[in-house]
Amino acid sequence: MIKFILIVNKLGQTRLAQYYTTGLSINQRVALENEITRRCLSRKDKECSFLEFRDLKVIYRRYASLFFLVGVDEEENELGILEFIHCLVETLDRYFENVCELDLMFNIDKAYMILDEMALNGNIIETNKKTVIAPLHIIDQVSKKLK
């Protein structure tokens, strides 16, 4: 099961955070993000993409200036999650056309929506990029009409 998904830039600033476990206060959350990011950033390219953190495994992957971090429990397939991260990035890329940090910052709602279409309650729902983006296109069309 996925416990959280984080997107962080290389300065360690959180750009998107979705938690699937309850019970973390804001301070705990900030502390957790800081520590994980710090440890992730300090790792070298040649090291494996997993790190153990408390009772979680954090799987991370770097895309240009953005780090995608996913915290999972013991049972999850680490390599599968890596593939999921890639799938998420490809989907964001397809929607935003060459996604970058700024796209996420200024369209955080869309980014969350894409994520919600792909994963919910710590489980993966959908990995077909087209299906994931379809509802977003509809929203975009509707809002265009309204304007």
């Binding site: 019970g23 804001i26 070298k44 993409s49 408390r54 009772d55 390599l79 599968g80």
Partner: protein, 891 residues
């Protein structure tokens, strides 16, 4: 007027310091609050949007929670979308807001617009509380049968959350599984599989039922594996890997414990587990899952061997990620497939040299896992080889593993000594403390190796590259203890080692600024031992020791003074500094009996000297007995515990030790130093009683030494006694030194002990921080057992640590105290040895014990413990069971 979202983000981005960001956010939060207060409907979505951003930056945003509800209740989709997003991000724990949202969500779930339903489901899936999910379960159930696959898969995931948070609702969803898995849409099937997985985990009895799904799942997997290119779910040439590995995972649950089901899947597993390439991450992900399944279910040995071989292929591959998962999986298989694992020793050892610490750590565990008597030498050598390059914290791990390997598999003592010396020299200061104690005990029991070891250590000591403190301590102890053997034999062998050289070396080390005070204690002790081992160097040794009588370190000063004084009492110096008795770890009990009878025979001589020796022996015996009673652990730790115990109990009441001694000597029980002194005067001629009194003194002095400066009055007593008679003085001195020596002897251990004490102190502090009040679990006959709990984790497993304190407030001493602990099968408990078996009355002392409880299952469990308390009070043995189930700890 508050800013546009875009402007806020820009403003924050423009800030150069965290302080600036805080200012911007505080100002904006105030404006948003104002706008909320004014019920500004137009700006509400924008404000929530901004709050989401503010929340992400880690600033408070609770005041927006209610506004989210207002947005959700709004009929417009755009408003709802932001509202739900706000709800699932901003509202985490606030049960009230969640409760209020239930009805709005219920309405939305029955909306015509499937995207509105989708939003409601997504919010439920992410933040739904048990109460909400229980209330809305019928709606969710209905939506799982919806025609739209878009809603079906989302509803299924909400069902999974419901099962997780409200386990009793599981029956409601079992019936839905078959249709979900039979769907064409991959998303629906994927969520269906995850639903089965969560049902199976919550309700393991359902596995039997679900085994019927196996043929269908196998077929599905086969068609995926053999499928050609399908644009919809293609991941670099692999058809829907997520579906594939979820099927494999479900097969694992269904195949475990069932030969029949396992047989059904064998073919496809062989195909998946052997045919895939290992160049792409996707392929490896599926292979990895397949291999884990093969190793978990009841597959035949041939298939298992193939699985292990596949993992070994990962290890020799280029990808670090696959190495990591392979090592992890192999670790799980280490107990079931030791033979086939050992065949891949080379690749595993190779991973020890990997650049990645995570991989090296795994590899280390695995190397240790495949270690046995046959390969221990070569594998330990491999571990030693990677020691010099390892990081500090990793060195601790390696040396710890080597030590355990030595304990378990050492083929002979010479090898053990060689390895320990290597650990000491290469490992530097980053080594586990028991290396030194292990070393001293193995040399002690091998007279043949004493020359070999001391020579080797001496030669290494000459080379200043290896002068780390632990090594210095061990080598100076060994050279001091076996100095005579070293010098005599090396002369015979024509080695270039002589006493002057050794003394020079010690002096250089003593004067070196890199030598810590603690190491200097050892060196001083080694020097004084030298004076008795080899004749003719007294003056030189005196000269070296002399300056330390004025050393700023009190302990060092004390040692130097006492050692210096000892030169004036030649007749007692030798026996005091006599060779340490061999430390036998397990057969102690038998030997004690022999020793006692032997000593008693000797005691027939009316010679004070000899008598004292008996006493000393008896002390040893006494200690040994206590040691045996205390624990069956490694010998050094036993002595250690003893040390603490004597120190702790003596200041209040010497009963503990004295009781035993009284039995042996039938002397009158002297309980204070004054009494001792009196007795010294009165009973000077009575040999038997001199024995008793000597002991009393000994204990008193031991206390003085043990507590250092704090115990001045007792020290004065010592002085008085010293002045009383010459005989007494000698005896006294001797006992002081005996004690001193024991303390020196136990220094390795002392160090150990200090560290462990520090550790436990730290733990205590942490516990006080985290934990609430101590929990009284037992109170009867004046005995009070208190436990305090701390939830944490040990090596990644959730665990509860507890310190158990037992006190006795009655006026009767408690003896033979024993506490046993049992926990439910879902937990595993580990109880440390108690700090003592007797508890002095009137709350004057306590027994400490540590308890660790590890969880073996995934579900949240409430802690419950069964205690059995055994003790003797008033000569009556009492055994009592007590169940403690009301501990407010869930983990």
């Amino acid at each position: 007027m508050s800013m546009q979202v875009r402007d806020l983000i820009k403003a924050v981005r423009g800030c150069k310091t965290a302080q600036k960001i805080r200012e911007v956010i505080t100002r904006e939060s105030a404006l948003i609050r104002n706008s909320f207060r004014k019920e500004d409907k137009i700006n509400r979505p924008r404000n929530i949007y901004k709050l989401i951003y503010i929340h992400m930056l880690g600033f408070p945003s609770e005041f927006g929670q209610l506004e989210c509800l207002k947005l959700i209740a709004n009929p417009s989709y755009i408003g709802k979308r932001i509202g739900y997003l706000g709800l699932s991000i901003l509202v985490t724990e606030n049960q009230e807001v969640l409760f209020m949202s239930t009805n709005i969500i219920r309405n939305d779930l029955s909306s015509e617009d499937r995207y509105v339903v989708g939003l409601a489901l997504a919010a439920l899936g992410n933040i739904g509380s048990p109460e909400m999910l229980r209330d809305l379960a019928p709606e969710i159930e209905k939506l799982m049968e919806s025609e739209s696959s878009y809603l079906k898969k989302k509803a299924t995931l909400v069902a999974i959350r419901t099962i997780r948070l409200v386990p009793e609702s599981v029956d409601r969803f079992i019936g839905k599984v078959r249709t979900l898995i039979g769907e064409k849409n991959h998303g629906v099937v994927l969520t269906g599989l995850q639903l089965v997985l969560s049902i199976v985990k919550t309700e393991p009895e359902t596995i039997v039922k679900f085994r019927k799904l196996v043929p269908g799942l196998v077929r599905m997997l086969k068609s995926l594996v053999n499928a050609g290119y399908s644009s919809e779910y293609d991941f670099r040439g692999t058809a829907d890997p997520f579906l594939q590995y979820n099927i494999l995972r479900l097969l694992r649950y269904l195949g475990e414990g069932s030969k029949k089901s396992s047989k059904l899947m064998a073919d496809i597993l062989t195909q998946v587990g052997t045919s895939g390439g290992i160049s792409k991450n996707v392929e490896i992900a599926i292979l990895y899952e397949a291999v884990s399944t093969i190793l978990s279910i009841e597959s035949d040995s041939k298939l298992r061997v193939t699985a292990i071989n596949t993992l070994s292929r990962f290890l020799s591959g280029r990808h670090n990620n696959s190495k990591y998962v392979a090592l992890n999986t192999l670790l799980k298989a280490v107990n079931t497939e030791p033979k086939s694992l050992k065949r891949h020793r080379k690749v595993i050892v190779e991973c020890l040299k990997d650049k990645d610490i995570s991989i090296r750590r795994r590899a280390l565990d695995l190397v240790f896992g495949i270690m046995d008597k046959k390969n221990v030498e070569s594998l330990t050598q491999e571990l030693l080889d990677c020691l010099p390059k390892a990081e500090k914290e990793f060195r601790y791990d390696i040396t710890a593993k080597i030590c355990t390997a030595i304990e378990k598999f050492s083929p002979n003592d010479k090898w053990q000594i060689d390895t320990l010396i290597k650990v000491l020299t290469i490992g530097g200061q980053y080594i586990r403390d028991d290396v030194s104690s292990m070393m001293t005990s193995v040399i002690g029991r091998n007279p043949d190796l004493q020359y070999y070891t001391s020579k080797k250590l001496f030669n290494i000591l000459l080379d200043d590259r290896y002068r780390n403190q632990t090594f210095l301590q061990v080598s100076s102890w060994v050279i001091g203890e076996y100095g005579d053997i070293l010098m005599q034999k090396s002369e015979k062998d024509g080695e270039l080692i002589n006493t002057t050289q050794a003394l020079d070396l010690f002096q250089i080390l003593l004067e070196s600024s890199r030598t810590t005070d603690e190491t200097k204690y050892y060196i001083l002790t080694a020097l004084i031992k030298f004076s008795t081992r080899i004749e003719g160097y007294d003056e030189l040794i005196k000269k070296i020791i002399k300056p330390y009588r004025e050393h700023v370190n009190v302990e060092l000063q004390q040692r130097a003074c006492e050692f210096f004084l000892l030169f004036d009492y030649n007749e007692i110096r030798d026996p005091i500094l006599d060779r340490m008795p061999i430390f036998v770890e397990k057969e102690i009990e038998l030997e004690i009996e022999e020793e006692v009878s032997e000593n008693i025979n000797k005691g027939e001589n009316n010679d004070i000297q000899k008598n004292t020796q008996i006493i000393q022996n008896q002390i040893n015996v006494n200690q040994n007995i206590q040691t045996v009673q205390n624990t069956q652990n490694t010998g050094i730790n036993e002595l250690l515990m003893l040390n603490t115990e004597t120190k702790k109990t003596q200041p209040q009441n010497k009963q503990d030790s004295l009781n035993f001694l009284q039995e042996i000597f039938s002397g009158s029980g002297s309980r204070s130093n004054n009494n001792n002194n009196n007795m010294n005067n009165n009973n000077n001629n009575n040999n038997n009683k001199t024995g008793g009194q000597g002991l009393g003194l000994d204990l008193g002095l031991g206390l003085g030494l043990g507590l250092g400066m704090n115990n001045q009055s007792q020290r004065q007593n010592q002085m008085q006694t010293q002045r009383q008679t010459q005989q007494n003085q000698m005896q006294n001195q001797r006992q002081t030194q005996q004690n001193q020596r024991q303390i020196n002897q136990n220094q390795n251990q002392n160090k150990n002990q200090n560290q462990s004490q520090n550790k436990s102190q730290n733990q205590n502090q942490n516990q006080q921080k985290v934990q609430n009040q101590p929990f009284v679990v037992y109170e009867k006959n004046g005995i009070k057992i208190e436990m305090n709990f701390k939830v944490g984790n040990i090596r990644g497993t959730p665990a509860v640590m507890s310190i158990i304190k037992t006190t006795n407030i009655s006026s009767i001493p408690i003896s033979n105290y024993l506490l046993q602990v049992a926990v439910p099968k879902t937990l595993k408990a580990q109880l440390s040895q108690p700090s003592g078996q007797t508890i002095p009355p009137n709350g004057n002392g306590l027994v400490n014990q540590q308890l660790q409880i590890i969880k073996l299952v995934q579900q949240k469990t409430q802690l419950s413990i069964l205690l059995r308390v055994t003790y003797v009070i008033n000569g009556q043995k009492i055994v009592e069971n007590k169940e403690v189930s009301n501990i407010p700890i869930f983990f």
